[in-house]
Every structure is written in structure tokens, then in C-alpha cells.
């Protein structure tokens, strides 16, 4: 099992969700996040003081999947979130030692979907 963490542009969320659904990945958790990367920030000014904002709004997805879904998930995200411009985001893959469904108490790969 793997835990996939993906950072994407906020306005791509709907597309990514659709692509994931088509890849049969329906479960996920979404958080908002601020990202600092290759993408340049922008300048704000408040009452005559300028300042650089280099934390940009991103959406963070956390998706736990069984091994055979890992590549499909990654591909779905890449295809739907890519615009080719800096700031498109990153995907991180972690090993998932275990997974438990609270409702039933099931463990492991059964519990993921």
C-alpha cells in the first residue's frame, strides 16, 4: 500500500477529481496548503509597504491506494493537473505500513477502498 501526496493548483482540483474517478480512485482527503517552489510569488503592498509573497495557494491531496493502483493514480493526476507551467506541483509517494477502517475495524488492503 502506498500513501500518495499530491500538491496541485487549486483550480485544477475539479479536473483531477474527475480523472481520478475515471481511474476508479474515489477516496481521498483534501487540504489547502501554501507552497513555496520554483514558481515565483507576487508582490503585495499595504499602506505604502511592499512585500514579497512567496507562499502560493495549493491544494494538497492525500490518497491511500493499493500497490496496483499507484501508477494509475499518478498518471491520472499528471494528465489532469499538468499545464506545463511552473507551479503545476509535485507528487510524493510514501510506503503505507497499515490502514484501518474505523467503521468496521478492517485492516490492510481491505480497508483502503
Amino acid at each position: 500500500m502506498k500513501l500518495i501526496i499530491a500538491y496541485i493548483q487549486p483550480h485544477k482540483l475539479e479536473d483531477v477529481k474527475k480523472a481520478l474517478a475515471e481511474a476508479n480512485v474515489g477516496k481521498m482527503s483534501v487540504t489547502n496548503s501554501l507552497g513555496c517552489g520554483a514558481q515565483m510569488g507576487f508582490e503585495e503592498s499595504y499602506r505604502g509597504i511592499k512585500f514579497e509573497v512567496n507562499l502560493l495557494k495549493k491544494v494538497r491531496l492525500e490518497i491511500a491506494v493499493n500497490e496496483d493502483f499507484v501508477q494509475k493514480t499518478i498518471d491520472a493526476i499528471i494528465s489532469s493537473a499538468r499545464t506545463g507551467e511552473i507551479g503545476d506541483g509535485k507528487i510524493f509517494v510514501l510506503d503505507l505500513a497499515d490502514c484501518i477502517r474505523i467503521r468496521t475495524g478492517e485492516y490492510g488492503t481491505e480497508a483502503i477502498g
Binding site: 487549486p10 483550480h11 482540483l13 475539479e14 489547502n32 507576487f42 508582490e43 503585495e44 503592498s45 499595504y46 511592499k50 509573497v53 495557494k57 491544494v59
Partner: protein
């Protein structure tokens, strides 16, 4: 000259007469020193008080517009709309001072006024009021017409374009329409066109300008899916919008009841006030019922639009109709606004706050209602249709409404085209996605708040 009124009693008539006689002489001299407790002064003082307070209330509507518009759009564009709303009142004050008042209320021909630029060369009083009080009341109206457009074109219009537009509408377009209708020399006024407080002058003008502007701007990114279906882009702060509606309703009492330009013996202002309130209430109820039936949920945003629709609808007829008619006008306006919103969505005209249905459609509807429910006894030129069966007044109302719509479509269409060709009407895609607050003003509306927005 009060002593006389206080009446005279009883016997001793001869002496009374004598007394009266001398008092008339005496009071004249008395007032000379005593700084004028003359009834005419008190009356003018009272009228000024009334109209000034009404002007303050109309000014305050600016806050209401700002809050409604801000509340109904997304957080990322809030600062931008508030800046527009704030500055357009400033610009309208200036423009109406320099040029607008002259074009609107200055003497001239039936189409446009040509005297009184910078308020120079005018008499001290007008319509029985100090000129400055009259000006302030009218200037506040002018600001309202300008700001209506901001809502319809929200979330994607270039800021500089907005500034130019708002100066032009308040200095030129609005005053010309106003001249036709509210200057006694205007061609529509001469026809007997009835628009007591501005369903046409203010709201149709603003609403139709919003319509043409919104059409030219095109919808916001993501508003219509590839399948053409509209998507909901929810407003970010309903309490703010709700407060705004209350402020508008509150200010509207000044808007309508102040349009009497004086307190009189109280009967007119009372009628206008009750009609205003009933139409607003019934507008809210009408929209709520309609939206509940059609969409299965009592949608507050629509109910609030309904109250505003009722207010817009009753603005023209408020002095000419009975309370029961105000109820009907309000109710029907509330129904119209719901269908109006739906219609625009079908036509892919993306009006985030409902400026077109509320001000445009109900402005026209209210204007027509004068011809239907108005009463000659209450000051209208002709008896309304339901009383007389005579469509005369209704016809006049149609002429005025159509003339205004056409004029505004043409002039504002040209203005927006010109602006588009020069500074550009619309912001860039990146800027729209990131939000105009950052793009145009480099600041956030809710610094520190975590806002999760995927549109």
C-alpha cells in the same frame, strides 16, 4: 407669522382686529432683528432637514451596495469590488459637481442642460430648497446609478476601465437621462412621464449599463461548463450581503421618501414610506416562494434579491399608488427577479450579483406599473390603466422606458467599446484566477484567513 394662526377667540373683537392689524406690522419689524422665526423659514428649514437626511440615507446605500456586491462574489475579488464601489461614489461626487448637475438640472433644451457647471451661476434655492441640499440629494442618486454596474461586471473587469466608465456614466450618461425625466424642461417630463424616485432614471440606467457591460465582458472563467451548463460560484460572505440588503432597504426610505423634496404636511412622505416598505417585504416573500417552489430550497440570496427587486419596482410608482398596489408591485417584482436570474443563466450572461434582473428588469417593470396602478389624484398626469381602462399613461411609460433603454444601450455600448479598445475591459486569465485583489491592488481582503477556493 404665527400669531394670526393661533386663532382668535371670543368677544373683544374690535381690539383683536386692532391687534392683528398691528401685529402684522409689528412682526415684520420683529423678525428683522430676531433672526427670523418666520413660518416660511421654518418650513424651508424643515424641508432642508428632510431632504438632507434623505440624502445621507441615500449616501449610506453606497455601503449597502458595497456589502451586497462584496458578499455575493468570491473572497479573492472583494477588495477590488469595494475599491470600485468606494471610488465611484467619489468620482460621481466630483463629476456631478463639475458637469453632471449642469447637464441634468441646468436650463437647456429638452435633451440636455447647459447651465450650472461647477454649480456656478445658479440661484440659491431650487424647488424650495437650498441649492446645496438639492445637489447633495441628487449627487447621492448619481452615485447609486454608477455603482449598480460594478456588481454585474464583478470579478473580471479591469480597474482602470472601471474608473473611466464610472466617471463617464455619472458625469454624462446618467445626467442626460435624468434631464429628460426630472428636469421640468425635459422631453419626457413634458410628456407626463412619471418616475417618482428613479426606477428609470437610476435603476434602468444602471441595470441596462450592467447588461451591456456584462455581455461585452463575457462570463467568468469556469462559470459555464463545456456542456454549457451554468455552475454555481457561491458568494463568500452571506452575512455581509444580508447586512448590505438591510442597509439598502434602510437607505431606500430616503431614496423614495426624500424624492418629495420636502416634508409637506406629512401625507406624501408617509405614503411613499409605507409603499416602499410593503413593496420590499412583498418582494422578499415573492422571491422566496418562487425560488422555494422552483428549486426546493428557501434560498436567502434570492429572497434578498427579491426585496431589492421590490424596492426597485416601487421606486417609480411609490408616490402615485395605494399600499395594496405597492404590495402587488413588490410581489411581482420578487417573482420577476427569480425568473430573470434563470433567464440570464440560460443566455450565458454572467451577472454575479443579479444587477440586471434587480435593477434593469424590475426598473422597467416598476416604470410600467406607474401606468397601471398610478392615480391622477396622487399627482400623476393621467389615471392608471386599472382605474381608467385608458392605456395613455401606460403608453407614456413605455415610451420613456424604451427611450432610456435604447439610449443607455447605445451610449454605454460605445463607451465600453472605446474603453476596451484602449485600456481593455477585462483582466488577464492569470489575474482572474489568482483574484483581482492581488492582481490589481496587491492586497488581500482577509489577510490570515485560510480560504480554500478552487474556482
Amino acid at each position: 407669522m404665527k400669531t394670526q394662526n393661533t386663532g382668535i377667540k371670543k368677544h373683544r373683537w374690535l381690539i383683536m382686529l386692532l391687534a392683528l392689524f398691528f401685529l402684522c406690522g409689528a412682526t415684520e419689524t420683529v423678525f428683522a432683528e430676531n433672526e427670523a422665526i418666520s413660518i416660511a423659514d421654518v418650513k424651508q428649514g424643515l424641508d432642508t432637514v428632510w431632504v438632507l437626511i434623505a440624502a445621507f440615507l441615500v449616501f449610506f446605500m453606497q455601503a449597502g451596495f458595497g456589502m451586497v456586491e462584496a458578499g455575493f462574489i468570491r473572497a479573492k475579488n472583494t477588495c477590488n469590488i469595494l475599491t470600485k464601489n468606494f471610488l465611484d461614489f467619489c468620482m460621481a461626487s466630483l463629476g456631478f459637481f463639475l458637469i453632471g448637475y449642469a447637464l441634468m438640472f441646468g436650463d437647456g433644451n429638452g435633451f440636455i442642460g447647459t447651465k450650472g457647471f461647477l454649480l456656478m451661476g445658479l440661484e440659491d434655492t431650487t424647488s424650495g430648497l437650498p441649492l446645496f441640499a438639492f445637489w447633495l440629494f441628487q449627487a447621492a442618486f448619481c452615485g447609486a446609478a454608477a455603482t449598480i454596474v460594478a456588481g454585474g461586471m464583478a470579478e473580471r473587469m479591469n480597474f482602470k476601465a472601471y474608473l473611466i466608465y464610472s466617471f463617464l456614466i455619472s458625469a454624462i450618461v446618467y445626467p442626460i437621462v435624468g434631464h429628460w425625466i426630472w428636469n421640468s424642461g425635459g422631453w419626457l417630463a413634458a410628456m407626463g412621464f412619471g418616475d417618482f424616485a428613479g426606477s428609470t432614471v437610476v435603476h434602468t440606467t444602471g441595470g441596462i449599463a450592467a447588461l451591456i457591460g456584462t455581455m461585452m465582458l463575457k462570463p467568468r472563467i469556469g462559470k459555464y461548463g463545456v456542456d454549457g451548463k451554468p455552475k454555481a460560484i457561491a458568494g463568500h460572505n452571506i452575512p455581509l450581503a444580508s447586512l448590505g440588503v438591510f442597509i439598502l432597504w434602510f437607505g431606500w426610505f430616503g431614496f423614495n421618501a426624500g424624492s418629495t423634496i420636502g416634508a409637506g404636511d406629512g401625507f406624501d412622505i408617509a405614503r411613499v414610506a409605507i409603499n416602499t416598505n410593503l413593496a420590499a417585504a412583498l418582494g422578499g416573500i415573492g422571491a422566496m416562494i418562487t425560488v422555494w417552489f422552483r428549486f426546493g430550497k428557501p434560498d436567502l440570496s434570492m429572497a434578498m434579491n427579491g426585496a431589492l427587486a421590490g424596492l426597485v419596482g416601487v421606486t417609480a410608482p411609490c408616490a402615485f399608488v395605494e399600499p395594496w398596489a405597492a404590495c402587488l408591485i413588490g410581489l411581482s417584482s420578487g417573482v420577476i427577479v427569480v425568473f430573470g436570474v434563470e433567464l440570464l443563466d440560460k443566455l450565458h450572461i454572467d451577472d454575479p450579483v443579479g444587477a440586471v434582473p434587480v435593477h434593469g428588469m424590475c426598473g422597467i417593470w416598476g416604470t410600467l406599473c406607474v401606468g397601471i396602478f398610478g392615480k391622477a389624484a396622487l399627482g400623476l398626469s393621467n389615471e392608471g390603466f386599472i382605474y381608467s381602462g385608458n392605456p395613455m399613461q401606460f403608453g407614456i411609460q413605455c415610451v420613456g422606458s424604451v427611450a432610456t433603454v435604447v439610449f443607455v444601450l447605445v451610449t454605454m455600448g460605445l463607451i465600453f467599446k472605446m474603453i476596451d479598445a484602449t485600456v481593455g475591459l477585462r483582466v488577464s486569465r492569470t489575474e482572474e484566477l489568482r483574484g483581482l485583489d492581488i492582481g490589481e491592488h496587491g492586497m488581500e481582503s482577509y489577510s490570515g484567513f485560510q480560504i480554500f477556493s478552487t474556482t
